[in-house]
C-alpha cells in the first residue's frame, strides 16, 4: 500500500457574507477530511457552490482556512512560515484552472510563464537550459516551437489547457490540483486531457486532485472519489463503489442528472429544483434534507455523523 501524500483533516472555512447590516456566517467548507496517496487520481465532485474550489484554494495557500489541518508528506503546511519552505511546497504542489482562456495574461506571451516557472523553482535560466521545459511540453504533446512568441489569443482552449498543464509539470510536482480543467473544453479535447492525467500518473507517479462535476470523466480517470454537497463530503470511497452503486441520496440524484450519451437511456424522471444555494447552506442537520426523497424528521435537526459501510463512508442516517 502506498503512503499518504496529502491528508486533509477537519478542514473548515467560514465566510462572512451579505451586506453590512445582515452579515451571516456561511460555512463553505465544513469539517472536510480526505487523503490522497502517491500516484492516485482523487476526484472531488459535486454541483456548483458546494465548496470544491474553496478546498483547492486552501490547499494551494491562496486562502486561509478557519479550522483544520493539512498534512503534506506528514508536515502541517498551515504552519509553514519561512519563504523557503513555502517555495518547496509550491514546487511540489502545482495547479491548473478551469478557464484556459483566463489562465494566462492576454498581454504577455505564454512562453514567459514557462521560463519563469523554471527560473523561480529550479533556478535554471532559460538561456542556460530549456530541457525541463521541453520535457514538460513533450509530456503534453507540444513542442517549444508551437508556443514560441505566441499570445494566449492565438491558441485554442485545448492547447491552452495543455500549456497550462505543461507549466505545472516543469517543477516536477508530486500533486497536481486541477479545478474543473475540462468543463470549458469540448468532448474530444476533454478525453485527451483526462488521458493525459492517466499517463502522467502511470509514467511519473503524479497524483491529481481532480475537481469536476462531470461524473463520467471522473469515473473514467480516478481511483477514489469524494462527493461534496454544500460544504460537506457526503460520500467517499473508491470510484467504482461510489458511482456504480451510490448510497447517499444526493449521489444518486447527481448520477441520475448526468445526460448519458445514449439515446436509449434518456431521463425518465424530472428533477426537483431546489432552494437557493445560500438557503441550503444555512440548513441545520443534513443540507440535502430539502430535496431528499427519504428525508426523516431527525435529518433536519441532528448533526449527521459519517457511517462506514462496505468500504464507503456515507454521511446519511439511512445507513445508521
Amino acid at each position: 500500500m502506498s503512503s499518504k501524500l496529502i491528508e486533509v483533516n477537519g478542514l473548515t472555512k467560514v465566510f462572512r457574507v451579505g451586506s453590512l447590516f445582515s452579515r451571516v456566517r456561511l460555512t463553505a467548507v465544513d469539517n472536510v477530511s480526505f487523503d490522497i496517496k502517491d500516484a492516485d487520481i482523487y476526484t472531488l465532485a459535486g454541483e456548483s457552490g458546494s465548496g470544491k474550489t474553496t478546498v483547492s484554494r486552501i490547499i494551494l495557500g491562496l486562502l486561509e482556512a478557519s479550522e483544520g489541518e493539512i498534512l503534506y508528506k506528514g508536515k502541517n503546511i498551515m504552519n509553514i512560515k519561512s519563504e523557503r519552505e513555502k517555495k518547496e511546497f509550491r514546487k511540489d504542489v502545482q495547479a491548473i484552472f478551469q478557464n484556459p482562456f483566463e489562465t494566462f495574461n492576454p498581454l504577455r506571451t505564454v512562453e514567459n510563464y514557462l521560463y519563469e516557472t523554471q527560473k523561480n523553482f529550479l533556478g535554471v535560466d532559460a538561456s542556460d537550459s530549456i530541457d525541463g521545459i521541453e520535457q514538460a511540453l513533450t509530456a503534453v504533446g507540444l513542442t517549444l516551437d508551437d508556443v514560441k512568441e505566441k499570445y494566449p489569443s492565438e491558441f485554442s482552449g485545448g492547447q491552452l489547457q495543455r500549456i497550462s498543464i505543461a507549466r505545472a509539470l516543469i517543477t516536477q510536482p508530486s500533486l497536481l490540483i486541477a479545478d474543473e480543467p475540462v468543463s470549458m473544453v469540448d468532448a474530444s479535447l476533454r478525453m485527451s486531457i483526462v488521458n493525459l492525467f492517466k499517463e502522467l500518473k502511470d509514467r511519473y507517479g503524479l497524483s491529481v486532485l481532480y475537481i469536476t462535476h462531470d461524473l463520467a470523466t471522473a469515473y473514467y480517470v480516478s481511483d477514489k472519489i469524494a462527493i461534496m454537497f454544500r460544504g460537506n463530503i457526503v460520500e467517499k470511497g473508491s470510484v467504482e463503489k461510489v458511482l456504480d452503486s451510490p448510497k447517499h441520496p444526493y449521489t444518486k440524484m447527481l448520477k441520475e442528472s448526468i445526460a448519458q450519451p445514449d439515446p436509449r437511456d434518456k431521463w425518465d424522471s424530472r428533477v426537483d429544483l431546489h432552494l437557493t444555494e445560500r438557503e441550503e447552506y444555512m440548513l441545520k442537520g443534513c443540507k440535502f434534507a430539502g430535496r431528499c426523497p427519504h428525508v426523516m424528521e431527525r435529518c433536519r435537526t441532528e448533526e449527521i455523523p459519517d457511517f462506514d459501510i462496505d468500504g464507503v463512508t456515507v454521511k446519511c442516517l439511512l445507513y445508521q
Binding site: S48, L189, R190, L254, I258, P263
Partner: protein, 332 residues
C-alpha cells in the same frame, strides 16, 4: 415539412491583416432542412463554426462576418421568405416573434443593472403595443413563468442575485415569451453543473412540447443531444459532415470523425481506454484541400486529398460526406 432551410450557405469572417484580406471560412457550403416540431441538434468541436452558423440562421450578420453566398429561408404563411432579402424593419418584427435566439454565454440578454421584470417589459414592448399593462403584460408573463415552473418572484430580482442556472432558465423564458415558431439556442448549458443543466434542458423540452415548435440546439455535450435531439447534424471545420436521427448517429455513425466522437464518450460503468481523434482541427483560414478531416483520418485515401466529398444520403434519412460511402464530390 421544413420550417427553415439553407442552400449553399457560406458565411466568412473577413479580417484585414495589415492591409491584406483574409477569409475565415466558418460556414462553408451548408445545406440544412429543419423540420417542423423537431429538436435539431448541432454538434462539433470548438471553433468549427457552430455559433457562426446559428448567427447566420438568425440573420445576425455583422462585420467582420459576411454572407458570401447562399440563402436562409423561413417558412412563413406557407411561403418561403429569404431573410437576406428582407428589410431591417421586417427583420426586427419577426425576430423573437417568429424566431428567437439564446446566445452563447447568454447572461448578456438580461440587463445587469435592472430588475428582471424590466428586461421582460422592454422585450415585449418592442413587439407589442401595450395599452393595459396588467392584462397584456403582467398576467401573460406570470402565466408563462408559472407554466415553466419558475417562481414569479424572480421578476423582482436583479440578474446577479440569481444563480447561473436560474439566470439561464430566465433567459429561456424570455426567449420564449412571445411563443416563437423557432428557437435557436447556442450552448445553453455549457457553464452549468449537471443538476442545473438538467433543469434547463427539462425547461427547453417543456417549452417545445407545449408550443409544438422547432428548436435548433448547439452544444458539444453529446449527452444532451442524446437526451433531447430528434436529429443531429455534425459539423467539422465549417461543413456539415453527417446528419441523421439521434438513434442513428449514436448507434450507427458513418463518418470517421463521428465515429471518433461517439467512441470517445466516457460512461459510468465503463473504464476501458478511450481516445479522441488524433491531432487538432484545421485552421479555417487555410483549410486542407480535399476532405477537411483527411489529415486526422486513418482511413484516408488519395481521393480524400484531392476532392471534397459531398453530404449525400447514404441510407434513408442518414447523410454523410465521406468517400468511404459515396463518390459524390462537391463541385468547386
Amino acid at each position: 415539412m421544413s420550417v427553415l432551410n439553407t442552400e449553399g450557405l457560406k458565411a466568412y469572417y473577413i479580417i484585414d491583416v495589415l492591409g491584406e484580406k483574409r477569409y475565415v471560412r466558418a460556414v462553408d457550403d451548408v445545406d440544412l432542412e429543419i423540420r417542423e416540431n423537431e429538436i435539431y441538434g448541432i454538434a462539433g468541436e470548438s471553433g468549427c463554426g457552430k455559433t457562426t452558423l446559428i448567427k447566420t440562421l438568425f440573420g445576425m450578420v455583422e462585420p467582420p462576418l459576411n454572407v458570401m453566398d447562399g440563402k436562409v429561408k423561413y417558412k412563413m404563411n406557407a411561403e418561403y421568405a429569404d431573410i437576406f432579402a428582407m428589410d431591417n424593419k421586417r427583420m426586427r418584427e419577426i425576430r423573437w416573434e417568429y424566431i428567437s435566439y439564446i446566445p452563447q454565454g447568454s447572461m448578456s440578454v438580461l440587463n445587469p443593472v435592472q430588475k428582471v421584470r424590466y428586461s421582460f417589459e422592454h422585450f415585449i414592448k418592442a413587439h407589442r403595443r401595450i395599452r393595459n399593462k396588467e392584462e397584456e403584460f403582467i398576467k401573460p408573463v406570470e402565466r408563462h413563468l408559472q407554466a415553466l415552473g419558475l417562481p414569479v418572484q424572480i421578476l423582482d430580482s436583479y440578474p446577479h442575485q440569481l444563480s447561473g442556472g436560474m439566470r439561464q432558465r430566465v433567459t429561456v423564458a424570455l426567449a420564449t415569451v412571445l411563443q416563437p415558431k423557432i428557437i435557436i439556442a447556442d450552448e445553453p448549458t455549457t457553464a452549468l453543473d449537471v443538476v442545473m443543466q438538467r433543469g434547463v434542458i427539462q425547461l427547453l423540452k417543456d417549452v417545445q412540447s407545449s408550443l409544438k415548435n422547432t428548436i435548433i440546439m448547439v452544444t458539444h455535450d453529446m449527452g444532451i443531444h442524446a437526451n433531447i435531439a430528434d436529429r443531429i447534424g455534425i459539423m467539422y471545420a465549417g461543413k456539415m459532415i453527417e446528419e441523421a436521427s439521434t438513434e442513428e448517429i449514436f448507434g450507427n455513425p458513418l463518418h470517421p470523425y463521428t465515429q471518433y466522437l461517439i467512441g470517445s464518450l466516457p460512461k459510468i460503468g465503463d473504464k476501458s481506454y478511450k481516445t479522441s481523434a488524433p491531432g487538432a482541427p484545421p485552421s479555417l483560414i487555410n483549410p486542407p484541400e480535399g476532405c477537411r478531416f483527411y489529415p486526422r483520418c486513418d482511413r484516408a485515401t488519395d481521393e480524400c486529398k484531392a476532392a471534397i466529398p459531398k453530404l449525400v444520403e447514404i441510407e434513408p434519412g442518414h447523410k454523410a460526406a465521406c468517400f468511404l460511402y459515396s463518390g459524390v464530390k462537391e463541385d468547386e
